[in-house]
Assembly symmetry: C2
Homo-oligomer: 463 residues x 2
């Protein structure tokens, strides 16, 4: 057997080169928006709200849970969370239960010595702009085992073929990234997806809805609202694109120790309960609503998309009430940029706690609370002088499950007055390189923090 | 703020030096057995089986679950596991539910330039030899928040004090290791403990039941049966004592990718159920038994230990029927030793799959099955020529929860005929250094594999 080096240091350099390249071989960056619009025009796309009664194959079962007759895809159930902490020590809520692990895969290939990524113009029913740049493959297990009876998923073999390929030495490509990551812990119960980048040397036939872009091009597009979808962002966040750093506020061991302490001190107990037992929420004909119209509602849509494996379908979606804010405060210590992460408890996390942005919330959910109980640093972010804003764009969360769930993502310069070097409990200063290293493993970095990490990896913003 | 290097490379060297040192400053290695015997004689220790009816504070509640009236410590409930795979696609069993995270902490200090570790002679009711070498601190949250009303836990501040200490820069010591690790996934539902090593420069007052030993001394003691307890073994496994390696069969990225694929392809669903609903098991006056007397039984004991925070108590324990075997097959590729790990599904794992030894089972549980359904490589391990056995010792599992749960741990040399370079699905060749790197994060390496990793870290065996 021929041994391989344990570290693939070349990958880091090649990703950095791709991030520096803002002109690709396939199309120029300014052309991408027009191409996306043309792809949106090439098919019939339509999304319409419907009452639950018109859902096809979905129904409310015993206990009030909303599920598909196949037992696959996902279901809407109840979650009882006992966190024992302020501001809300215990609550019940509807939650999406999707135990199967999907694949979010981006195919990579060198052109003229620069890595390009095969991005897809994909429609998702919940997207505010329906067609966005997505990974090459974005498929739940139900999708790719074809429970829905649709067409096969293109390029899937590069990703799922790895399982046998690696063991047999018959690889179709080289794996650059392959890690399970969580998604929104407030809306999903222990969901995780496989985030993959696979590099190929094949002559890849490029479908009409696909195009090759450099990491730098994707970075430029990340500066625009609602162009790059969540799935693409989370995959790119996991790329080992760590910048060189002279040091950090904490050593890596100390950082993992702080994280371990945060996980240990939160004793959160969660339990799935029938949706009927979620007090404070009511199931109506058109939606499941909170009694005070807060947080989100569950709705149903009928969707049509000529480009997808299945052309017409109906499904439930979660519709958040109010737009989110997700922001890192940024400071330089000893010349090295640091992000202020927060150890966040979210009811759906497998491991209780993950690292999120400094601020992550829907401000409207807090207006009924006194200022002292609003999220820490929210006022600093919302009131930041424009000169301090290093990055700002609106992005949508997973359009396959959420209806127009938009968040304003920011990177905001702070100083000792607004964010002290000695952070409050639950917060810590970490470097982008440290966050990047942690994102090579599961369940450290939450999906909102990963969007901002993708912004840094692709040089959409420089710190 | 003064930046620190992200890597603490000095720790690796200092651990290697301690592993090479088989004579400590405190007592010689041959003296340790005598000291343990003296400590066992210095207190009154007694363990007696009792009927459940004599348990104090413990009782069977609605649904038949066995729990403590405080709601703390742990409970015995039912688990329903749907794994969908051979040899057993679905089953129910009793399981220990212990959601709180405990601390397993070893205090370290340099004497004459060599790291020594403060080990405790600790009695646990389930240990076959009652008093064993244990971590400095071994405490559940119920212990150290003193739900049981006992004496305070000695040296605890070095470990739990870190939480605030790190944030405030008022450390009592330097953290060398601090990571959550799972325990037996067949007997515990999602249990994890904090595995810590903290180095101090304090003048530490050494209690009668404590002594300083080098890593090499502990290694020598690991060659003996039932001297070093499980908690000490799992903590030492997490020490960054990676040997230098020229390469590996898979790069680290490929290894994590293989692990991710293994996690993805097993769709295991687990659900806690009332113990009454665990068919095939019966609760009697003295024990909870499997209908065919297989696997394990749940019993109750009354224990007395003059040295512990609480001197007398009663509690349930799991008693396995038959001794376990846990073994790595070992091969050298390109001069670098490799261990054959197995991606194991255990019902109680948080993340479905963790890496275990090549063979891990209770052989007696399989005697009723045809040879083709017995664990792969079991015959190779049990039939190995003595000249191929690099390491062999019997160790007990957690004596605070298991009654005389003993396993024979082995490292066995293999060749192409007994274990091919191209391993069967679910198995992979990894280097000790790779396993060591993975053990710096949660939920990769299971507790049995960690015992064998501790054997390597402490040079109880050389490959």
């Amino acid at each position: 057997m021929r041994l391989r080096p344990r570290d693939d240091v070349d990958v880091q350099d090649r990703l950095a080169r791709s991030a520096a390249e803002t002109a690709g071989v396939w199309m120029s960056t300014p052309e991408v928006a027009g191409w996306l619009a043309r792809r949106a025009g090439a098919h019939r796309f339509r999304v319409e709200r419907i009452p639950f009664g018109l859902l096809d194959g979905w129904s409310f079962g015993p206990g009030g849970n909303l599920a598909h007759r196949s037992g696959r895809f996902f279901s809407v159930e109840g979650l009882h969370i006992v966190a024992g902490e302020d501001p809300v020590p215990e609550w019940r809520q509807p939650i999406i239960v999707q135990p199967e692990i999907g694949v979010l895969g981006i195919l990579a290939k060198e052109f003229n010595g620069v890595l390009h990524f095969l991005m897809q113009a994909k429609m998702e029913p919940g997207n505010p702009r329906l067609v966005q740049l997505s990974p090459t493959v974005q498929a739940t297990r139900s999708n790719y085992t074809r429970v829905h009876g649709g067409a096969p998923v293109r390029y899937l073999g590069y990703f799922t073929g790895q399982e046998r390929g690696q063991e047999r030495g018959q690889e179709r490509g080289r794996v650059l990234v392959d890690v399970l990551q969580s998604e929104h812990g407030s809306w999903f119960f222990r969901k995780s997806n496989r985030n993959m980048i696979v590099e190929t040397r094949d002559n890849v036939e490029v479908g009409d809805d696909f195009c090759w872009l450099t990491l730098g091009q994707i970075g430029r597009l990340l500066r625009r609202d609602n162009v790059v979808n969540m799935d693409a962002r989370t995959v790119l966040a996991c790329a080992p694109a760590a910048p060189p750093e002279a040091g950090a506020a904490l050593s890596d061991t100390e950082l993992v120790s702080w994280f371990t302490a945060e996980r240990s001190r939160h004793e959160v107990r969660t339990r799935l309960v029938p949706l009927d037992e979620v007090s404070g929420w009511t199931t109506g004909e058109w939606s499941i609503d909170h009694e005070r119209d807060r947080y989100f509602r569950v709705i149903a849509v009928s969707a049509e998309a000529g480009s997808r494996e299945v052309h017409r379908w109906t499904q439930p979606l979660f519709e958040p009430l109010g737009a989110g804010v997700a922001a890192f405060l940024v400071r330089r210590f000893g010349g090295v940029p640091h992000l202020l992460v927060r150890a966040r408890v979210e009811g759906g996390f497998l491991g209780t706690v993950e690292l999120g942005p400094t601020v992550q919330c829907t401000p409207e959910s807090y207006v009924h609370l006194p200022v002292s109980r609003r999220p820490r640093f929210l006022a600093t972010v919302l009131g930041a002088d424009p000169g301090r804003i290093r990055y700002e764009a609106v992005h949508a969360e997973e359009g396959g499950r959420f209806y127009r769930a938009q968040s304003r993502y920011l990177l905001v310069d702070a100083d000792e007055r607004t964010a002290a070097a000695d952070p409050p409990p639950g917060f810590m200063w970490v470097t982008p390189g440290q966050l990047n290293s942690l994102a090579r493993h599961s369940h450290y970095v939450n999906v909102q923090a990963r969007t901002l990490l993708a912004v840094l990896n692709s040089r959409a913003a420089e710190l």
